[in-house]
Homo-oligomer: 419 residues x 2
DNA sequence: AGCAGTTAGTTTGTACCTCGCACAAACTTA
DNA sequence: TAAGTTTGTGCGAGGTACAAACTAACTGCT
């Protein structure tokens, strides 16, 4: 039998994506799953189940994952011997009768994770235990327009101060950075407010200095991971993290995986258009979401409406003043949250993740801001029957979530939940 | 007695609800990969590689997937014995020397796939061979405001006429439908222009009448699958299909998987907001993308600009008139494509898929429309270094892509590329 | 106290999958 | 005709998950 040659459909120029190359050293786009990979995958999933559900016995895990108890034993036994997991005291089972279960959880004395939060002008570093506790926090400032070598020196010094407090070598270092990040190649592409960082191959630098695995990703994605591992996103399979403040950004957790576009792109929500030919944005375009839902807009409106101290207006302040009876604050808060809602609406129409965790300025507005945004979203979205949209704010301090997220990045890459 | 005679890679004889069952069997959110699942996954990936790359020898497939040749032999041998695949004539290898390779491909005489395209007022059915050929097309009309029983009768009759022409029972039936679809439960939620379909559990109905696996999804997602299996999306890992016409819609192929939100939601791009407090939309909200980039807008603008026969204006007509020298057509075409571009820009800012396949009205505008849209998108998007955005139109007739996509839905759901 | 019943965790054997090695088959080149 | 090369196929090794059977530990009933 002869086969006719397949029609080639390469109409558009198919740019060879670095990611496809990474997916296989082979030219093709298929990758079969090998036997050993399967083991790694399942080990990772068991660990993730432990994270998501807290201490659990082998039998519980087996039920949770729908697998045989012996499988779980086989997976966790080496980890216990490796002192990554520890067996807790036998807790009386809630059902009557039977041998009491021995809950398993992460060893508090297991190696920790190094975490770095890099924002324009400041470096924060810490150690994060596998249980989520934050230790050995250090902080430093750097000249945003200064010398690269000087920055690297400050970074190294701060990180060393933190890492030296660990009793054992950490599993790795996770970096969360503002700006545009190429997470595939581990470089900072641009940070608007800190030109010194432009083009910096930070992963390579840190890897060399500390001889540890290093992972970098942009700030919203670290928030997402922080939410997923230790925050409101724990155990969820689909949700988005949305950051509002001087700029707007987002990141998505889709079908149990962190979404990363090519070279770690995606989630640049601030420059999606919500007002064709609207106000001029920093980016040079018009009508970006950022022109109506970020802090600069809020300050401008506050000034226009003759608020006192318009430069220092925040969502938290508006909520407070509204609660104290200020009609003007109430109205501005309503408009602000409505504008924020539009970005979430567009996300909802696109991906239907149904669950959104807010960070940054609007998170400062607490439950009230979240509820206002939820109401606006509900009004503005085309709802499907039975669909419920949840908007939450992450109550923990901003830096903490980002740092934990940075640590979580290492964890994720270490656990190889790629598949 | 055991019923294990079915080969485990079988395309047929699997309930389309397997996804629900798999997800709902255990209360938890973790699922480990079992040994047999691994086999199924790899079998599916080999088949997908065959689809993506055309006839290939075992050795080629092994290289493509980066696995051992023996692994491929083990996978394809049962399929050849089952007459799903056939071995082609030994083709002289392009390299010099060596035993000539025997290319493998889908057996043209293997069971086919039933496909249904359901648009307001019309039913199209056909058989699709595994090689993509369309056969036994049938068409019928139905009363959009009529009786449910009458619709089911027409549907059954049309589908029977098509399916009866198959020599063997097809692997299953794929349905692509306009409107809002719950693909998990196999029901049509609403179709604005065909109230008779509201709430119809079509999958259950067809499953009962034809005793075959049935899958349903909404129209844009079928276009996406059609693009992926047989069109410009072939072999790609990330792209979006965008439909424009009376309404707007989209669907996404992300990391080698069709994106489906809960209950098959997602991709309702038409009602994302591009103009806060803009024109009133059919959905009751304001400033939806649909109010500026769908055909009703184009007709209204044509009328406002005193075009002749404004009711019949389309992208294809604008391109033709612009090519003939009409400045007015050129200008309107430019504004139309710019408005279409905004939706793609927002998608790009959100997911960075970098590749977009256009369908529907703008696809009628051919390469010129695609190029105009690409230029607008390039201007309106915040580009990352090295990022290239590709916009293509699917040149094949609209119905054909949707029908092939509907068939591809069956294929996808039974190849279990879930992981 | 003693026994049945229940649940947790382990031991043992089995089935399945991929891989590396060796080998036959088939073709090209010198 | 011999050497070299590539394809495709047995066969055993190594790794993984599963099922059955077993021990351990606890509850409840007699």
């Amino acid at each position: 039998m002869k086969f006719e040659s397949q029609p080639s459909y390469s109409l558009g120029q198919r740019t060879p994506a670095s990611r496809e190359v990474a997916a296989g050293e082979n030219g093709g786009n298929v990758t079969l799953v090998s036997q050993s990979a399967l083991g790694a995958i399942n080990r990772g999933r068991v660990l993730q189940a432990l994270y998501d559900n807290g201490p659990k016995s082998r039998a519980d895990l087996a039920r949770l994952a729908g697998v045989n108890r012996t499988t779980i034993t086989g997976i966790v036994q080496p980890m216990i011997e490796d002192q990554l997991l520890v067996e807790g005291d036998a807790s009386p089972s809630d059902v009557k009768g039977g041998k009491p279960a021995r809950p398993l959880y992460f060893n508090p004395d297991a190696p920790m994770l190094g975490a770095v939060l890099l924002l324009p002008g400041t470096i924060q570093t810490c150690l994060v235990a596998l249980t989520g506790e934050i230790k050995a926090v250090a902080k430093a400032e750097f000249d945003t327009h200064g010398d690269t070598e000087a920055f690297i020196a400050v970074m190294t010094e701060t990180l060393t101060a933190t890492l030296s407090q660990a009793q054992q070598a950490p599993f790795g270092i996770g970096v969360a950075s503002a700006g545009m990040i190429d997470s595939d190649n581990g470089t900072i592409l641009t940070v608007n407010l800190a030109p010194v960082l432009t083009g910096l191959p930070l992963v390579a630098i840190l890897q060399e200095r500390f001889s540890l695995p290093v992972v970098i990703d942009h700030h919203p994605r670290a928030l997402l991971v922080g939410d997923r591992w230790f925050g409101p996103g724990r155990g969820q399979q689909n949700f988005a993290a949305v950051y509002t403040g001087e700029v707007l950004g987002g990141a998505f957790f889709i079908d149990g995986k962190v979404y990363r576009g090519l070279a770690g792109s995606g989630g640049e929500l601030g420059h999606s258009v919500v007002q064709i030919d609207g106000a001029l944005c920093n980016c040079g375009k018009h009508g970006c979401w950022e022109t109506v839902a970020a802090l600069p807009w809020l300050r401008k409106e506050a000034a226009r409406l003759s608020f006192p101290h318009p430069k220092s207006v925040t969502c938290a302040r508006l909520v407070k003043e509204a609660d104290e009876g200020s009609k003007a604050a109430e109205e501005l808060l309503d408009r602000y949250t409505r504008n924020v809602a539009f970005g979430i609406v567009n996300l909802q129409q696109t991906l239907s993740l149904n669950s959104y965790v807010l960070h940054g300025d609007v998170a400062g507005g607490g439950l009230k801001a979240a509820e206002l945004i939820r109401q606006h979203v509900e009004q503005l979205v085309v709802k499907r029957p039975g669909q419920e949209i949840s908007i939450t704010v992450n109550g923990i301090g901003e830096g903490h979530t980002a740092l934990r997220g940075a640590a979580g990045l290492v964890l994720s890459s270490h656990l190889k939940l790629v598949i």
